[in-house]
């Protein structure tokens, strides 16, 4: 089982109209290598699920600037003015979700959980159209799980079986999305032999990772 692929081999799995989860927080922990390749391939009409819409020249933001996205589900779009512009002109659908709810929806999607209850958003526009459930004396919103066709993660160190170590704050949404998509592609800063990462330091078990692409900066 060889998980190391060329960027072209990996890109065969990303097609027009797909739902793609992308790791990172303001571009930190985003696999820029895979964004480069998606721009080069010109794949379009994507639904992106990510923490934020990056910056115009960084992370998910570059796909938006290049008009490859029809819908984005994110918690924050403020650092990329192009997202707001396309939203206001009707070119892009933006679904804003509280960050903790988004993280948990993805976790639930990957963990086989049918939904979860949270107080976040009670009394705000977020509760519109959602089921409310009372447990004892508290009222919660029912939030549903989220899944995707493909997840793109950024690994600081990965072994050839796909076991991932994320350095510093690059972890963020990466381990969550790695569990919640049909195909998981990791862009790696450093690839090591199997055994090169202590099993106790593995943050995403290799069973979740389908493909590894080398060359992430």
């Amino acid at each position: 089982m060889n998980k190391i692929k060329t960027i072209d081999q990996a890109m065969e799995y990303i097609r027009d109209g797909m739902t793609v989860m992308i790791g990172g927080f303001m571009g930190i922990g985003t696999p820029e290598l895979l964004i480069d390749a998606m721009i080069e391939k010109g794949v379009k009409d994507l639904t992106i699920i990510a923490n934020d819409s990056g910056l115009p020249d960084r992370g998910v933001g570059r796909l938006i600037v290049n008009k490859q996205v029809k819908r984005i589900i994110a918690s924050h779009i403020g650092l990329n003015p192009e997202t707001g512009r396309q939203m206001n002109s009707g070119e892009l659908i933006v679904d804003l979700v509280p960050q903790g709810t988004l993280a948990e929806q993805i976790r639930a999607g990957g963990a086989g959980i049918g939904g979860f209850l949270t107080e976040t958003g009670i009394g705000t526009e977020i509760e519109e159209g959602k089921q409310k459930i009372q447990v004892n004396d508290k009222i919660y919103l029912l939030e549903l799980p989220m899944k995707a066709d493909v997840a793109l993660i950024r690994a600081s160190v990965i072994d050839k079986l796909g076991n991932v170590y994320y350095r510093g704050a690059t972890r963020n949404f990466n381990p969550l999305i790695a569990t919640a998509a049909d195909i998981v592609i990791a862009a790696a800063e450093q690839v090591v032999e199997v055994g090169g990462i202590d099993p106790s330091d593995v943050m995403t078990p290799g069973i979740f990772v389908d493909m590894i692409v080398e060359g992430e900066k």
């Binding site: 303001m26 571009g27 779009i77 960050q99 958003g121 381990p175």
Partner: protein, 219 residues
């Protein structure tokens, strides 16, 4: 008072609300400045919702680590004893009541402790980020903001902008006053030395109860 002086005063006063050992989350902007004024004998653990506790100061130029950034995407340092985690754990910490205090900015706050901080429809729609989870989950929510915006009150009878959270604000700190949100309404607890109760009432578009223990704000 110029904007910078006002913000420094607010940050300094807010820092005095923190207790030794507290886990604290500071919002971007004015709330971030609070870290500069925490007394030496008070050790708080700062959380950064993008995935760690133990947030330290901004690094010296040239010493930035590209993998260590705060929730605004800016390079920061971590202190000894810091811990990194994923976004699910980070918001488990927040929703689960493990954050003692969060200090955030606001566009509007009202008598019921409602907060509007994340959007102005048609003008500014950046998204709520982690703010909704923070104000719902933190044990204590402190709002730091200038008392008015271009002369217009920001403390209102009822928020006009879309709410970030309903009834979650505990304390409001401005350059003029410290106001507590109580079940009876807004209680004026402290007043800045260079203002008057009349001035505060004039720049506040809400009913204010003058606390019996009204004090002069230390600035």
């Amino acid at each position: 008072m110029d904007d910078t002086t006002a913000k420094q005063r607010i940050a300094k006063r807010a820092a005095r609300e923190l207790n030794d050992g507290d886990v604290v989350n500071l919002g971007i902007g004015l709330p971030t400045m609070v870290a500069n004024y925490i007394p030496d004998d008070v050790h708080v653990i700062l959380q950064s919702e993008n995935g760690f506790v133990g947030l330290g100061p901004v690094p010296e130029p040239g010493c930035e680590d590209k993998d260590i950034v705060n929730a605004g995407g800016k390079c920061v340092t971590v202190k000894q004893g810091a811990a990194f985690f994923d976004s699910s754990v980070s918001f488990g910490i927040i929703r689960g009541g493990h954050v003692d205090t969060t200090i955030l900015g606001a566009l509007e706050v009202d008598e019921k402790g409602n907060l509007a901080s994340h959007m102005v429809p048609g003008k500014m729609v950046p998204g709520m980020g982690g703010a909704m989870d923070l104000v719902s989950g933190a044990k204590k929510v402190i709002i730091t903001m200038t008392h008015t915006s271009k002369g217009a009150p920001k403390i209102l009878k009822k928020c006009t902008l879309p709410l970030t959270a309903a009834g979650q604000v505990n304390l409001i700190i401005t350059e003029l006053a410290v106001i507590e949100v109580t079940k009876d309404g807004l209680a004026l607890k402290e007043i800045a030395p260079d203002t008057t109760i009349a001035d505060i009432l004039k720049s506040t578009d809400a009913d204010v109860i003058i606390s019996e223990e009204l004090k002069v704000m230390e600035v």
